[in-house]
Symmetry: C2
Subunit: 221 residues, 2 copies
């Protein structure tokens, strides 16, 4: 895969993990936050060397030939509005977010859920952007290093634009995912099911006591 | 596992598939419907031989030392009310249902979802019954014959009563599931995540074009 300029919205652990991996693959990366003075983004860019930058959401979307939404689901639409529809138009946007809502008693729910999803909301709000839901079903360290988990295991993509899904699949292959383990679930509505995996995934995390696990379907025939 | 009297609420394909398997394992089975004259239940019992019976939901709950809810989620509580709290008191109830709602445009949603589940609703409505959520994550043919799917793959149980989960685990082992592949996800609240797998499972069914697949996990360490 040729070196690209990639913008990552969200400077939390998911955004930083993806940014570090993309730098090692030779891409130029801007990590975006609400403010250019965000200390996490600034520190990351200082440590990242000449190909790593930080900036606002708008800077990041403008910079990226491909953009990744690694913000929290609760703030994703606001971050994308700040990024700007014009800067995102025509681009592939990889939507990694899960719309988790944390209650005081420790339970986690989703909003939206069931008859809508963040993937769909983002595609509706940015109709000129080629949204691909991906990478929301596993922990960040496993996203960029599938060998943390033994054997074969799977990733999923969903979106309306076949070309965009091919680009994202190529990016995931460059992370080390075999093409045969990247499952295309169809249009962006499949983001509902992918986001609704989270409560189960959290149960599995509690069961195993860590996040180095992943879905590995067995299929007849 | 010693032969038992098992009552199955719901005479659809899931109930019949489970009933057939339980007969081959030497159990005595009553398949329950709203009406004793239900033609599906009557036909099943006629073909089943001396150890297979049909009856009302109340007959079925009374008959079973262990009871399985294989009704549709939308009618499960009504079926269990008809079965009767007294007949279900103290018994293990395996809740297999998914609360699917089919829209005219082909989309499928869940009700309840997110902050509640059928497993929890049933446990709340029948506090003296030992509810175990199980078997709702795969097709009926695979439930009773794990070898339809290659390799190792997993089932999940959730419920408040550890003894009840042990009984259900023993029943699942008698179906051919290795103990190591029956994952206890904790209390009945984990039914939320298990039921919320359905939209993803339906996407996978469309992707593969059949239902002979199942969740498997790869786990580090």
């Amino acid at each position: 895969m040729a070196a690209m300029r990639i913008g990552i919205l969200g400077s939390g652990s998911v955004g930083q993990t993806l940014a570090d991996k993309l730098l090692t693959l030779g891409h130029e990366v801007t990590l975006g936050s609400r403010s250019e003075a965000n200390p996490t983004g600034t520190a990351w860019a200082e440590a990242a060397g000449p190909h790593g930058h930080n900036g606002t959401f708008a800077d990041t979307a403008e910079f990226g030939e491909l953009v990744i939404n690694a913000t929290l689901g609760a703030v994703a639409l606001a971050a994308l509005e700040a990024a700007g529809a014009k800067a995102l138009a025509g681009k592939v946007l990889v939507d990694v977010c899960n719309p988790l809502v944390f209650a005081a008693d420790g339970t986690v729910t989703l909003d939206p859920v069931n008859d809508d999803s963040m993937g769909e909301r983002i595609q509706r709000a940015f109709p000129d952007t080629r949204v691909v839901k991906a990478l929301n079903t596993l922990s960040a360290p496993v996203m960029v290093d599938p060998t943390r988990v033994p054997g074969r295991h799977q990733l999923f993509v969903a979106g309306e634009d076949a070309g965009a899904k091919r680009e994202v699949t190529a990016l995931l292959e460059s992370f080390g995912w075999p093409a045969a383990d990247i499952v295309d679930l169809g249009g962006i509505q499949a983001a509902r099911g992918l986001e609704m995996l989270m409560p189960f995934w959290l149960s599995m995390m509690r069961h195993h006591g860590h996040t180095d696990f992943n879905y590995a379907f067995q299929v007849a025939g």
